[in-house]
Symmetry: C2
Subunit: 330 residues, 2 copies
Amino acid sequence: MNVLGIDVGGTSTRAVLVAADGRCLGYGATGAGNPTSSGTETASAAIVAAASAALERAGLAATSADVRAVVVAIAGGTAPSSVSIAEALAATGVAGEVSFESDVLATYCSGSMAADGYVLIAGTGAVAGRIRDARLDALCDGVGWLLGDDGSGFWIGRRVVRSVAAALDGRGPATALTRMVLDALGIDDASERRHGGRLDSQRRLVEAVYRLRPVALSRFAQLAFAASADGDAPAQRIVDDAADALATTIAAVIDPEVAGPVVLGGSILAQQPAIAERVVAAVRAAGVIGDVSTVGDGTVGAAVLALRHAGAAVDPDVFDRIASSLAALR
Amino acid sequence: MNVLGIDVGGTSTRAVLVAADGRCLGYGATGAGNPTSSGTETASAAIVAAASAALERAGLAATSADVRAVVVAIAGGTAPSSVSIAEALAATGVAGEVSFESDVLATYCSGSMAADGYVLIAGTGAVAGRIRDARLDALCDGVGWLLGDDGSGFWIGRRVVRSVAAALDGRGPATALTRMVLDALGIDDASERRHGGRLDSQRRLVEAVYRLRPVALSRFAQLAFAASADGDAPAQRIVDDAADALATTIAAVIDPEVAGPVVLGGSILAQQPAIAERVVAAVRAAGVIGDVSTVGDGTVGAAVLALRHAGAAVDPDVFDRIASSLAALR
């Protein structure tokens, strides 16, 4: 008996075929699979392709892979296109009921087997969750770049380009970010030339930024970390504010009656331990925070949830086997 | 001898036909004419339609209207589509050289004839300008919703919806804005029902907001003013921060060597005298600020600039005649 765990993200989609004892038999990764941002067809194709790649890697045909359950971990825990995603998976010959779970729950389950606990994810977006009785009990933020995602990669990147625009016309303090952002956008104009009252470099910044999709601003977050490490005060302020925002987000889901571990996920928390430490320190005072672990994504958790859906017991040995054998496959 | 002044905006385009003595002979208004946000063809059509409406109102054919100069006041003072706009105007039979001027300069010239002075505009966007020798000497902000426009209608409206999203999941304080925004979006769900850890009303807020174009969030600015007037602290904070941001923007163009009046434009400053007063008070300390006036748009200024381009003298009598006869036509 095997199961498929599929973790769907805004930039990549990962599938893993797992045996009842936790051995990962095959793994596949494809592109963006979020139906909200990528559309149903693209998302469905990415999910199917990731599943197929995992089966192929395992050397198994879909019809003979003995798949008892499939869990698709996805933003919101459901998708308007859930039915078509399930149909597309069935069309490949994969058996087993397809269930949809929250990607936030899957990320938590990648880092902990405790029935109660907390999870904070900060990548391009940002969201916190409270887990109670192995279910998602409350969410905070995760409402996207326009409405929230406080402290996320987009949030930081947006602050970076805005601080550069402000520095160029004197609204804001000078910052090392200016040269870094202009360089990143290929704007080599260091002159003080103005046209119609506006600095040429600022005009070129405006043209370059509005050619990007808004969420693409998250790529500038790394410049804030680099400049902050070099002592640039405006960059340090952005990073500090991001840590405070993420602390506020996770604090909002802390319930004095729910004690458990904290699982941290997403590129910001994985790559910026200083932010992760500040966030955890801020919520320690609540007294219900246990172990802290950091995970890359929700793939292990999707596999755990799929095994549970198939009725298989997931004990610490099985959990460790999933994690270690998946790491070997990647 | 007559001239055409055309003020091009992101939501409407206004044209006025003016005689050498300042009498406005005809006026026409059409839709959005900004080529950057609306595209060259739409913009060009709106500009031509506004000009044609002004001529028709004056009872004159384009070929016999004796138009000596046309000034198109537009964001940036130029447009990638300047040539096609000029050609489209010429094709209607309008004679006279077509010149492009900054809409910021035109707004200033709607409120003052002084060669030196300052202008601050806060509508959907926000921008400040320093005028020296009747030319735009420096600009601050006006870099759009993603990069700046601090204190603008969009900036306030974005803060409004974000404060509601934060209040709904406990990241932010409760605010009267929540009910107001949900009502404005037709979300009548007052239950505390959650799905996948998320409050239903927040989920519906997310769906409704992402269906809007980002700049459409400016419509929620008025809710901040209403809630603030009713004593809602989070709304008051947004309005205060907007006033501070606008004060910072105009402060950045103040030059101790340039003394003159301040012209205020745009819906935020025209309709919120408390904000306008705070902004002016903040820059009074510089000691170079003279009279303060508030104008609706840049139409009068476009006419003034067109008369100057035609070589006509614009004295205080001519200026007053433009303003009063235009008001009578509108």
